[in-house]
């Protein structure tokens, strides 16, 4: 399943690049085209394949999250930017691999994109140790992305330790949510 996803994504990525290329040429043709005249021609033959898309379709950053186009019709996917860890561990879980692969794909095909990996820990244990642990987790995610072809220069790592919990509760489930790395696009 992972394989097909990757391939699918690769195609999407390529399409994105191609479309992005088209989009950048668009201003040249743009002024010559009259939307008013084009519309009727489209209406005359509904089954006709679409003309060059008016919107540039490339990954977009929206409040730290990355929105990846899935097809040329405008469908898109917002990638999950949160990866969880076990207590006192900095091992990237298998469950997150597929999603991380998507991030790696987007980053390696869009070299201008930058991400910040924010490492966090749950409140148990000491603050300084947790800062170190948060950094280890973020580093582990970075190592994974770099192994998938992402340039180190695109990735910044920072640890907040236990200082910025997403859930301020004191139960096992709150702690599980807080032990995380957040992938923040900038």
């Amino acid at each position: 399943m992972g394989k097909t996803n990757i391939r699918g994504l690769f195609v999407v990525g390529l399409t994105a690049i191609l479309l992005a290329g088209c989009a950048s040429n668009e201003p040249d043709n743009g002024p010559g085209m009259d939307p008013g005249t084009q519309a009727p021609s489209g209406a005359a033959e509904p089954v006709e394949k679409p003309k060059p898309t008016p919107e540039p379709v490339k990954p977009m950053v929206d409040r730290g999250k990355i929105v990846v186009p899935l097809d040329e019709l405008g469908a898109s996917e917002t990638l999950t930017g949160i990866f969880h860890f076990d207590f006192d561990q900095a091992i990237v879980k298998r469950a997150g691999h597929a999603e991380l692969n998507k991030h790696a794909q987007v980053l390696s095909t869009n070299s201008r994109l930058r991400v910040r990996l924010e490492g966090h820990a749950d409140e148990r244990g000491t603050r300084e140790y947790n800062l170190a642990l948060g950094e280890r987790r973020a580093n582990a995610i970075r190592a994974y992305l770099v192994a998938q072809g992402v340039s180190r220069s695109q990735v910044e790592v920072i640890s907040y330790g236990e200082e910025k919990p997403v859930n301020s509760g004191h139960s096992e489930s709150s702690w599980a949510q807080n032990r995380r790395v957040e992938v923040v696009y900038r």
């Binding site: 006192d88 409140e123 148990r124 244990g125 000491t126 603050r127 300084e128 140790y129 800062l131 170190a132 642990l133 950094e135 280890r136 790592v157 920072i158 640890s159 907040y160 330790g161 200082e163 910025k164 919990p165 997403v166 301020s168 509760g169 004191h170």
Partner: protein
Amino acid sequence: MKQVLRCILILSAVWGFSAKSELRIEVTKGVDNAVRVAVVPFEWHGRGKLHQEIAEIVNSDLRLSGRFHALPVEQMLSLPNRVDEIFFRDWRLLNIDYLVIGSLESTGQGIKLQFELINVFKQSVEASLTIVGGEHEIRDMSHYVSDVVFEKLTGIEGAFSTQIMYITATGPDNERLFRLNIADADGHRVNTIMESKEPLLSATWSPDGEKVAYVSFEKDSRPAIYIQELGTGRKQQITDFSGLNSAPAFSPDGEQLALVLSKDGNPEIYILDLQTRRLRRITHHYGIDTEPSWTADGKAIIFTSNRGGKPQIYQMRLEDFRIERLTFEGDYNAKASLLPDGSGLVMVHRRNGIFHISYLDLKYGRLTVLTETSLDESPSVAPNGSMLIYATQLRDKGILGAVSIDGGVKFNLPSSEGDVREPAWSPKKRRVFKPILEDPVPQRAEGSSKTGIN
């Protein structure tokens, strides 16, 4: 290097922030054989404001220490201010062991405080002292009286004149406001010395008590170590490396700062010479090395490392970098600091999945869990080595707790707002008074026996 260590001097006016909510002490466990003391309201000679609060403050100090039972004023049968005014029968009737009496006098420039500690059973004067302080130093003078009484009766130096630094976090999760505060050991006179919307942690005192170092994320939401002078409020950025800038700890002579950086890819302990700005790395391990603290002689560093797989406490001799593991019990031991005499250390220790503060006797290797609370962290030992203060959770709120090293006394210091965390006990007293030598011969009470206590 210069660039990296570039110093930003900011004259911050933060020292002047208005007093925030004070901490309130609640004794949760006192000693079984608490000494019964009565602090009689002091007599006031002079014009102007009546300083009635002295006896109240001393009373409260002694009561909150968990070692004394202080008699409320309304239960006193008489209110003597001089030794010859004491009717010992009154106090024996009330089962009072010791009596504190005294008087205050305006000297024009300040206030002269004279007090006596009386042993009711022996009818003897255990201490008779006179100090002079400013009009605004009533609290300091009161804590001085408490310190003297405490030391005379327990043999342990009092810590009522010391201060506690701590961090508060208030407001909702996504809009937290962090404050660094310093208060008297009894929770009064809170002063905010720094506030930020970004995390603030690891605050620590310089050995002379005149500066503090801390980690703040105030600049670009990235961590950096700062040193702030308490007298002037002047703040200096000490580190600005990529990665962690964490866990500062002043050396006992105040000339060096141990700290943690991950600029070389991994959390390692470094020592920064504050004069020359020379930085030297002292640990070399792919594991986490953090939370350095110094031995009293400055010749070794105690630190937390997971080099053995789980966090444990290690000691490194700086002379030859020889490393020795100190903790073997449990799978999570962290943030250790030594008692002033080096006989043992306090640390965060996990037992049955719960994080407690523990004491490790280094001579016999015996580990004692001191706290019954959970999620305990940041133990900080009082300069007298007999109490420690730490951070814990009570009803979903971060509060401070304190416990004596022998486990006999416990109290909480809840705050009315927000989470309180990371207490650090000041190494020095806020104000030191020198007793004036007046009448070298202490007055002897009626009847009398010569022997003092202790």
